[in-house]
Amino acid sequence: MGAVMTTRHTAVAVDEDAQYLTFMLGGEMFAIGILGIKEIIEYGSLTVVPMMPAFVRGVINLRGAVVPVVDLSARFGRANSAITRRSCVIIIEASTEEGQAQDIGLLVDTVSAVQEIAAAQIEPPPSFGARIRSDFINGMAKVDGKFVIVLDVDKVLSIDEMSSIAEAGQAPALDIDPR
């Protein structure tokens, strides 16, 4: 999958900019800092874990380690992503509040490129209008004349929050279970 990624260098001050991975999701472009990214793999055989919220797509075997895959689109409260030939899983090292590291896969439509974005080019997030929870957004970056949403990976992939959603999702499901 390395071929998908192309690195472009833009002439900006070194100490202020950081590298971001941009990717597409539902026709919109997003970016995440590349520091937490471990690798990008093709979407492949995935095992569905039952009784989990929709955004937990399932688990995959990453060279012997079992890694959960989060459907980013569903995490934003939209429909589950449709799987295409170009669907990718970005493996990110997330950490819990206790500081334990855990790898999590992020399912996206396509990955685009690694880009350097100067801190000056990132504007604070709008309080509404992005149709995504505002605490998920780190800022809005202008890349090639278009806005790119820079995500706060720690918030989006907060294991503590996601597991509490899963917990909350289990209890009421039992009450209304029609079977």
């Binding site: 055989s45 095992t47 874990v49 039952p50 009784m51 989990m52 079992v66 899963a166 917990e167 029609p178």
Partner: protein
């Protein structure tokens, strides 16, 4: 070099802990059988070895205190002091203090806190009454006179010391011996012998070629000096001779010992103190391995199992007979390796049990109750990681049983029971898990009080009908305590829920049985190992699930006709027995409709029995458990995952949790009369 010494220090700390454990065990045994010479010997050896090793590392606080203990023990051994309860109590406390000394001084390299020093002073005082009248209570390291052959006058000793080539490799530092000798007296002259040092080309930097000729002026006896070299006796030559200062002629005092040393250092040490050689022989059959290394090995073997399953799968699809044969041989071997590797980590639970003897003794004295602990099934083996984590919950349960369960002697006699309370710890294997029972013959649980309290706390709706079992298990709920008075030991209502949580974390369960006036039994059920399980693979839709094999009782085929009738009823007639069914496809919300043929896997856990309806039966599979991580922490009914030979991930069913969940679900839907569709299952 310093690394080697550090390692040796670590070994010393580990050994000292073990020795103190042995000492405590033997002391408790001695309390029951005061004439037990073996126990006295074991206690003495423990103290003696700790003192000797501590001296080697220059841990003077440990040496000086242990020396007094050893002195008393020596008198105990030769019969000048008799065993009594007070002495045992002092010695037990001394053991505790030695443990503290080792933890503080050896592990952390700190000095004792003032409170601990006060305790030490009190212990020294108490011990001094048992010491021989002529020796002063505070015998420092300077005058370590032990046993027979004391020479109180200062003597000039000549020590010829030739270290063996392996001294460095064995983690010893020749210098430390010289330093230690200095604590015994005054070294007047040291000549370093370098004549064995080879030419530079053949010099091995890890070998030791040194020898020393030492003149030592000391009041220490020959035996004491000889002891200094206990740790290197196997690979060095030592001669200790007293020098007649007037004629400057060496007079051999311990000529017998020296002669033996010449014959062979090993036999000399064995004859000198037969007792110390015993643990050495025993150690020869064991290899100390770092637990991390073992875990790493077991992880790798786990990967090997997965890889070999993958290879077998490929071989089968190749239609190549010799290849298939080869892979099946490999699989067989891998399985054996796995069994062997897992067995390495299995340790008997007895050590954990025995630790509680002291606890029971101390707490029963504190409570003023007479309680006897009976231990059975101590040889039952289970995984080291499980053993380590079960100690605390067991401690809680024991304390609870002693505090709340067993009544005071007067109350017991009034109830027509023997004044002495009985507490028993038992362990045994049962259908792939280990069961630990803690039973007391106390008053039993007060059913009404628990129910009342639970209603008061809002844990149970008033008017709810609960079985006795359910009521008893309420005491494992958070914040539940019925003790009227909060004692030092228990009654705060933390504890039982922590016990339960800890056990659940180990994939175990706990339940409780009680008879009013006759006692309470707490049963803990634990898996044998946390790393690997034998699983039974079943397929639902395209997913694969693993059911722990030890819970599978049998498999039944379910044809179209049976399926219709049993699906309507929600149970199956299994040879005249009612077997409740769980349709996993529905329960796990798998899409698509069931295939024409379905199967029922009959599972049993403790007293629950149920049939799981699945699509396919895929056979047995040994699986390495891969935890799912915190994200799935709230997921009930699935305990982990594993990787199949094909590389796909399969989920492992947690049968107890799954059945519990379904029972709760059923209870809720049937309890609510307005629920629209109650029996569509």
């Amino acid at each position: 070099m310093s690394i080697n010494l550090d390692q040796a220090l670590q070994t010393f700390i580990v050994e000292a802990h073990e020795l103190l454990q042995v000492m405590e065990q033997s002391l408790l045994q001695l309390e029951n059988e005061p004439a037990d010479q073996d126990a006295i010997g074991a206690i003495f050896r423990a103290a003696h070895t700790i003192k000797g090793s501590a001296g080697l590392f220059g841990l003077n606080p440990v040496v000086s205190f242990t020396h007094i203990v050893e002195d008393v023990l020596d008198r105990l051994r030769d019969g000048s002091v008799a065993v009594d309860t007070a002495l045992i109590a002092v010695l037990l406390k001394s053991g505790d203090h030695m443990l503290e000394l080792i933890n503080v001084v050896a592990s952390r390299g700190e000095t004792l806190q003032p409170a601990a020093l006060e305790r030490e002073a009190a212990l020294r005082e108490a011990l001094s009454t048992y010491q021989a009248p002529h020796s002063t209570p505070d015998t420092g390291v300077q005058n370590t006179e032990t046993g027979a052959g004391d020479t109180s006058a200062e003597v000039l000793w000549h020590i010829s010391l030739r270290f063996g080539v392996d001294v460095f490799r064995n983690g010893m530092d020749p210098l430390s011996f010289l330093r230690y000798l200095e604590t015994l007296g005054q070294i007047t002259q040291v000549t370093t012998l370098t004549d064995t040092i080879p030419v530079l080309d053949s010099w091995d930097p890890e070998s030791c070629y040194l020898g020393f000729e030492i003149d030592l002026r000391s009041t220490a006896s020959h035996a004491t000096l000889n002891e200094v070299f206990d740790f290197v006796r196997d690979d060095c030559e030592v001669r200790i001779e007293a020098v007649d200062e007037t004629s400057h002629k060496a007079v051999s005092i311990g000529s017998e010992l020296v002669a033996q040393a010449e014959q062979g250092p090993l036999t000399a040490s064995a004859q000198r103190l037969p007792a110390t050689s015993e643990p050495k022989n025993r150690d020869g059959n064991y290899v100390r391995v770092n637990a991390d290394k073992l875990d790493e090995l077991i992880n790798l073997v786990g990967e090997l199992v997965i890889a070999s399953a993958g290879a077998s799968l490929l071989a089968r699809s190749c239609q190549n007979d010799p290849l298939q044969e080869a892979t099946s041989t490999v699989s067989g071997l891998v399985e054996e390796i796995l069994d062997g590797a897992l067995h390495l980590r299995m340790i008997p639970i007895g050590d954990t049990f025995n630790r509680f003897r002291r606890v029971v003794r101390d707490i029963s004295q504190e409570l003023g109750k007479d309680i006897e602990l009976t231990i059975s099934g101590a040889e039952t083996e289970l995984d080291k990681t499980v053993v380590e984590k079960i100690g605390d919950p067991l401690m809680h349960l024991l304390r609870n049983a002693m505090d709340h369960g067993i009544e005071s002697a007067d109350a017991r006699r009034a109830a027509g029971k023997a004044g002495k309370g009985h507490l028993s710890l038992n362990a045994y294997h049962d259908s792939g898990s280990i069961v630990i029972e803690i039973a007391d013959d106390g008053n039993g649980l007060n059913r009404e009080r628990i129910l009342e309290k639970a209603q008061e706390r809002g844990l149970v709706a008033s008017g709810a009908v609960l079985s006795d079992q359910e009521i008893y298990n309420l005491i494992f709920e958070p914040g539940f305590s019925t003790a009227e008075a909060v004692t030092n030991l228990s009654g705060r209502g933390v504890g039982m829920d922590v016990v339960k949580r800890n056990i659940t974390l180990l994939r175990g369960t706990v339940d409780l049985d009680s008879r009013p006036g006759q006692g309470t039994v707490v049963r803990i059920r634990l898996p044998l190992t946390l790393a690997i399980i034998n699983g039974f693979l079943v397929g639902i839709d395209k997913s694969t699930y693993v059911i722990p094999l030890d819970m599978v009782q049998e498999c039944i085929e379910l044809d179209e006709h049976q399926r219709q009738s049993s699906c309507d009823k929600g149970y199956l007639d299994l040879r005249g027995e009612v077997l409740p069914l769980v349709d996993l496809r529905n329960h796990f919300s798998h899409e698509g409709s069931a295939g024409r043929r379905q199967n029922v896997v009959v599972v049993r856990y403790a007293e629950h029995k149920a049939g799981l309806v699945v699509d396919d039966l895929l056979g047995e599979f040994q699986t390495v458990i891969k935890p799912l991580g915190k994200l799935f922490g709230a997921l009930r009914g699935i305990s982990g995952s594993t990787i199949l030979g094909s590389g796909a991930v399969a989920l492992i069913l947690d049968i107890p949790a799954l059945l519990n969940q379904i029972v709760q679900l059923e209870a809720r839907t049937t309890q609510a009369p307005y629920s629209p569709t109650v029996v569509a299952r």
